[in-house]
């Protein structure tokens, strides 16, 4: 187990190294003077000179890279060209918003997706199964942002039950925060619920026809215990795997959802930064996204090895 974790962590570090090199080179591949790019188009020559000095932009590339990594590791991510605030401060302000949205969406997805998957598998070939399967197909085919628009159209414009957009921090107004997060998290969670439902259903179908479930039944256990304990536990590894695989989709989903509902999170920061060519911020959000992605994938791999001993014994999840 220790070796498995160390090996996975090692390859995660390699990925982070490659990512940092790509981001570093990406900014320098832009046409024009990198100091001007980092300072923003309206910066004064003094500011440009200060940036050139700070990042050592007149020195050779390897030296610049060392400076870049050193500053990144000490939390200096540069300053936004829009308002001059330190990028690290902006990130600390925006990230919690997106983490809340992602957590709520995952909650929605797990509750709806796993329950629907279990019901579909237990009632296979009957009405609940068809309903759940249809929901699964629809969830795969309908893009988040359209679902969001339809939600606003129905619940905000027509019925006027929920606010169309906006955000209040949880610490200021917990009720208002949850009320405004309700529609975004349902919209973002629905697509993942569909994926989870399909995977849970097929894992449960496999488990329900297996020998150990037949044994459990023949011992005279009630059906609820057979389904809820024996079959479900063995289907949970699937859920963990799917959550890991869907992480990239969750990130882009959060970006889109924040854009629709005007939530000032990390995703909106990303889009705004690209549209205003705010390169220090772009550089930072890409780095943070890759780091988060690599970290969660590492945790998923470890959780997976923990739940399923075959993985760690055979030495990896590559298949």
């Amino acid at each position: 187990m220790i070796w498995f974790v160390l090996r996975r962590a090692g390859s995660a570090l390699i990925v982070m190294f490659v990512a940092s090199v790509l981001i570093f080179l990406g900014i320098r591949a832009l046409p024009g003077d990198p100091a001007v790019v980092m300072a923003g188009e309206e910066a004064t020559p003094a500011v440009v000179a200060a940036i050139r000095e700070e990042y050592g932009l007149d020195r050779p590339l390897p030296a610049q890279y060392v400076t870049y990594v050193g500053q990144t590791l000490t939390g200096n991510l540069g300053r936004s060209t829009q308002d001059g605030l330190p990028v690290s401060e902006i990130l600390l302000q925006r990230l919690p918003v997106t983490l809340e949205l992602a957590a709520l969406a995952m909650l929605v997805a797990i509750v709806i997706g796993v329950l629907a998957g279990i019901i579909a598998a237990v009632r296979r070939g009957r009405l609940p199964d068809y309903l759940a399967t249809g929901f699964g197909l629809a969830g795969l085919s309908i893009p988040h942002f359209w679902l969001g628009l339809l939600g606003i159209l129905l619940f905000a414009v027509t019925l006027r039950w929920l606010p169309a957009s906006g955000y209040v921090p949880f610490s200021e107004d917990p009720g208002g925060n949850l009320l405004r997060m309700l529609m975004p998290s349902l919209v973002l969670g629905a697509g993942f619920a569909a994926v989870l439902m399909r995977q849970t259903r097929s894992a449960m179908l496999g488990a329900l026809s297996s020998d150990y479930v037949r044994t459990a039944r023949s011992k005279g256990l009630p059906e609820s215990a057979v389904v809820g304990v024996h079959a479900l536990r063995n289907s949970l590894t699937t859920v963990v795997t799917v959550l890991g695989l869907q992480l990239g989709a969750l990130i882009s989903g959060a970006v889109v959802t924040e854009q629709i509902f005007v939530i000032p999170g990390f995703g909106k920061l990303t889009v705004d930064a690209v549209l205003t060519r705010n390169y220090p911020v772009i550089q930072a959000v890409v780095l943070v996204t890759v780091a988060g992605y690599v970290l969660v994938n590492l945790l998923v791999d470890i959780a997976y090895a923990f739940l399923n001993p075959r993985v760690r014994l055979s030495g990896g999840t590559d298949g």
């Binding site: 591949a29 893009p143 628009l149 882009s252």
Partner: protein, 296 residues
């Protein structure tokens, strides 16, 4: 139902095993209702994208008497904020979607298949290197590519196609490599080796044709993903730029007029959902036909 789409055009060629096989697969496919629905949706989408723009009015023509007009005989699906015909814009948008879906998938195949072939074939020394590189690519969420490309070359359809194509590469490489690893151990490959066939001949004459089926199925997964990807990026302003009518761009405009002209938000979304659903159903059906074991 069965008459729609492709007819059985395969002529009874003299004892051609391949034509025989194709006919058998088509018969197996035709019996299932959902994949047939998928095929019809995909054919309708292709017609809309290829023929639609020829028969509808100019999608950038502005009719100032019809700004935000509801559906009417003059504008069957209504008109947008600048009085442009929504039906015409839907048809042009289909063309953009088709380009994004097909070009990005082609790009991934053209680059990915050769890499997968050589990685699987020279597995001793090339395979580990290629697969580690694939892991690195997989470690980047798709949106990061898209954001990076939009930041470097500016938001455009070209950037969208590159980002989507690059994001699909790992899947294509893995599938091709997996097939090569399985096929290279077959007796007929051994026979070809014994016959003195060169590596290139074996790869392209014997191994590549065996990769076709899983790659076709992969394309039916990749194209709808790319269609949604293009619409999403264009909706965010990171993809196709107005005034080019992409379905995503149309939804960006629609969001500003939700209370006055809700139908603007309906049509592009319905189109995205139907096109995606069509490819997904078709893909499920092809998977079942090519590999009867997976049919449930």
């Amino acid at each position: 139902m069965a008459e729609l789409g492709v007819k059985e055009t395969v002529a009874p060629v003299v004892s051609s095993g391949r034509a025989d096989r194709r006919r058998r697969l088509w018969r197996r496919f035709r019996r299932r209702p959902l994949p047939m629905v998928g095929l019809v949706l995909v054919v309708a989408f292709l017609l809309l994208a290829l023929v639609g723009p020829l028969v509808t009015p100019d999608p950038s023509l502005q009719d100032y008497n019809a700004t935000l007009a509801p559906p009417s005989p003059a504008h069957p699906l209504g008109a947008d904020d600048l009085g442009r015909d929504v039906l015409a814009r839907i048809a042009s948008g289909a063309q953009i979607s088709l380009q994004a879906g097909v070009l990005s998938t082609l790009l991934a195949m053209v680059i990915g298949i050769p890499i997968g072939l050589v990685a699987g074939y020279y597995r001793r020394w090339l395979d580990p290197v290629v697969m580690r590189m694939v892991d690195v690519v997989l470690a980047f969420p798709f949106l990061v590519f898209a954001v990076g490309l939009a930041a470097i070359i500016g938001p455009s359809l070209r950037g969208v196609v590159f980002a989507l194509g690059f994001a699909q590469l790992p899947a294509v490489i893995r599938i091709t490599r997996g097939e090569v690893l399985a096929v290279r151990e077959m007796d007929y490959v051994m026979a070809a080796v014994a016959d003195g066939a060169g590596d290139g001949h074996i790869l392209f004459r014997y191994i590549l044709p065996n990769c076709a089926n899983p790659l076709i199925v992969q394309a039916t997964v990749a194209i709808p993903t790319a269609i949604i990807g293009e619409a999403t990026l264009s909706f965010l302003g990171l993809g196709v730029q107005p005034p080019t009518p992409s379905w995503g761009v149309m939804l960006t405009i629609a969001q500003q007029y939700l209370d006055q002209a809700p139908w603007l938000a309906i049509w592009p979304g319905v189109m995205i959902a139907l096109a995606t659903l069509g490819f997904n159903l078709l893909g499920d059906g092809l998977r079942d036909v090519f590999d009867p074991r997976s049919a449930r």
